[in-house]
Symmetry: C2
Subunit: 336 residues, 2 copies
């Protein structure tokens, strides 16, 4: 008989939390009792797990000593308010909000740097990187044995579901208003997102970089173990409901053999490679999948050491929930 | 009294042709008689110029010796079929389809390399580059006296109006179908464009690059007079009606003084610079304007010689029609 564990999911009613609960069931994660927790208004809602409706309890009143493993799928503020209690109770913690610094909770992409997990000391605490980092790192990790990347220029075109359900309903509402020729009053975003592209997804710092752009650069270096990697990151908001589309241009140390790169990507179990001529998109390909799609693989027009790729990945299911559940599976294997 | 010229617009009923006719009027271009021409079904339609409705005549029957200046705003196939007749008749030709090689019809962006026009020999023939080249070249030309760019990595997010009115109505149709939860049958694009991003805008060649991506790289080098410039170009189709959004990452020879770059962009008459914190978008900013918008100007996170920018530009009005009319004005000044 497989050993089972009591598990808590914080932020269970959010879109990532819900996908997480779904994946715990689908992947037959060894759950004994599942505690669904939310803060504020979300407590009292319910979710289905293994065919039964389960009520979301108030995070504020939760006793972490009841569980062995905790997924923090809430925002960074809520997570910061409760993560120390979980660690103090001896829980294994998987945080999706990057509330703790890398020294306390290393960034791990299951399909890129799983070996990092074997180096943890108790209390076991690990961060699941941003969805965009998961997607890019998965591709770069597959290529790592074959090419040495010196610079990655990333334009990440992010779906509105990066803002959770509110983002999804705001895009739907704005689109319907515009199609019905009604005046538009943007609510969630600072301006019209329907039929428009927004050049930033969060407030830029003094250097002009957004928090997610900083996070993406830092996470890629850490996950790939390449502190010297140069990263240019631009995160934009696009009028797409689900799934991130990423334009990636790499500069490598040596001339790139594009055919070899394609062969590597084609056989990588962590990726779905789409042959030249065709290309992956979020709608119809990546969304709903637990795998990162990659296509439009091509060299440089002017530089033999350049490699260009296009990535499509489900930001909620693959980039967030699936990586977190994979980390949980690996942590169980290593330590429980 | 200003001298005036008989002018023909080929492809007058297309969205670029229509914008061109509008700008000839708005900019008080010295038109004596305006001939509107179209091929196939478009002959017989009508457009308004200087308050009067004008009928579009059949291109096939047109005698080019009647006019002094011709704008080719049709596709490359139609243009190739008639451009030699226009040149043989001694017309000054401005082609927006890049039907002729650069040796016969140099690529000129009025706000980037106007000096090129003084070197023409008769028959005077010039190409207005792609809308994306016009936008990027305008920004790079403003920076040229201050920074030496060695590599430009471009992700051009293109509006459906790059496919003319058909593109616009296809996005509207698909969006309405989806919002009404009806099954979708893509027509113009090879798959769903509503709420989706398509990774390429035309068929890739053996190297994986699309024709527009090749054109963008070649045009930038020619217009900026930098044959050694390395260009990585990715052109994608986004669910936006009008206006291109371009993510641009530059590598320069020397460390970039971001404050100086901002000061240069702020004072450039050819650009609208948007201060940090805010950012330009196509809806609300660039669309309907004859100026290229630039914002999100920031250095590199890891490289002092990196510069990142965001460009928003009206692909039809600014990128195509306005540059062509500006070229016409300059050609008149030089040669007529």
């Amino acid at each position: 008989m497989t050993r089972t564990y009591d598990v808590a999911v914080i932020g269970a009613t959010g879109s990532v939390g819900e996908a997480l609960v779904q994946l715990l069931e689908e992947r037959e994660f060894p759950v004994a009792t599942l505690y669904l927790l939310g803060s504020g208004e979300s407590a009292g809602e319910s979710l289905t797990f293994r065919g039964k409706s389960r009520r979301v309890a108030a995070l504020e009143a939760f006793d972490f000593s009841q569980v062995r493993l905790v997924f923090f799928a809430a925002g960074a503020v809520v997570t910061r308010g409760h993560i120390e209690a979980a660690r103090a109770a001896g829980c294994v913690v998987i945080d999706l909000s990057a509330a703790l610094p890398a020294q306390q909770a290393p960034r791990v992409v299951a399909d890129a740097n799983p070996e990092q997990l074997s180096r943890l000391a108790p209390p076991y605490c690990v961060t699941s990187p941003s969805a965009q980092s998961v997607a890019v790192a998965t591709v770069l990790a597959a290529l790592r044995p074959h090419i040495e990347v010196q610079r990655a220029v990333i334009t990440a075109c992010m779906a509105v579901s990066s803002h959770g359900r509110q983002g999804v309903s705001e895009l739907a509402r704005q689109t319907a208003e515009l199609l019905n020729a009604r005046a538009l009053e943007p609510r969630l975003f600072d301006r019209q997102i329907a039929f428009n592209l927004l050049a930033q997804v969060d407030a830029p710092d003094a250097g002009g970089h957004g928090a997610l752009e900083r996070r993406l650069a830092a996470e890629l270096k850490e996950v790939l173990g390449s502190p010297q990697l140069k990263v240019s990151a631009t995160c934009i908001q696009v009028p797409v409901f689900y799934g991130d589309s990423i334009s990636l241009s790499l500069q490598c140390r040596d001339a790139v053999e594009v055919e070899q790169v394609c062969a590597v990507l084609r056989t990588a179990s962590t990726l779905e490679y789409v042959e030249a001529g065709d290309y992956p998109t979020v709608v119809g390909d990546a969304v709903g999948q637990e795998v990162v799609y990659v296509g439009r693989v091509r060299g440089g027009q002017d530089d033999p050491a350049e490699l260009n790729l296009w990535i499509a990945s489900d930001n909620v299911r693959k980039g967030a929930a699936s990586n977190a559940v994979q980390l949980g599976e690996l942590l169980i294997k290593h330590y429980l």
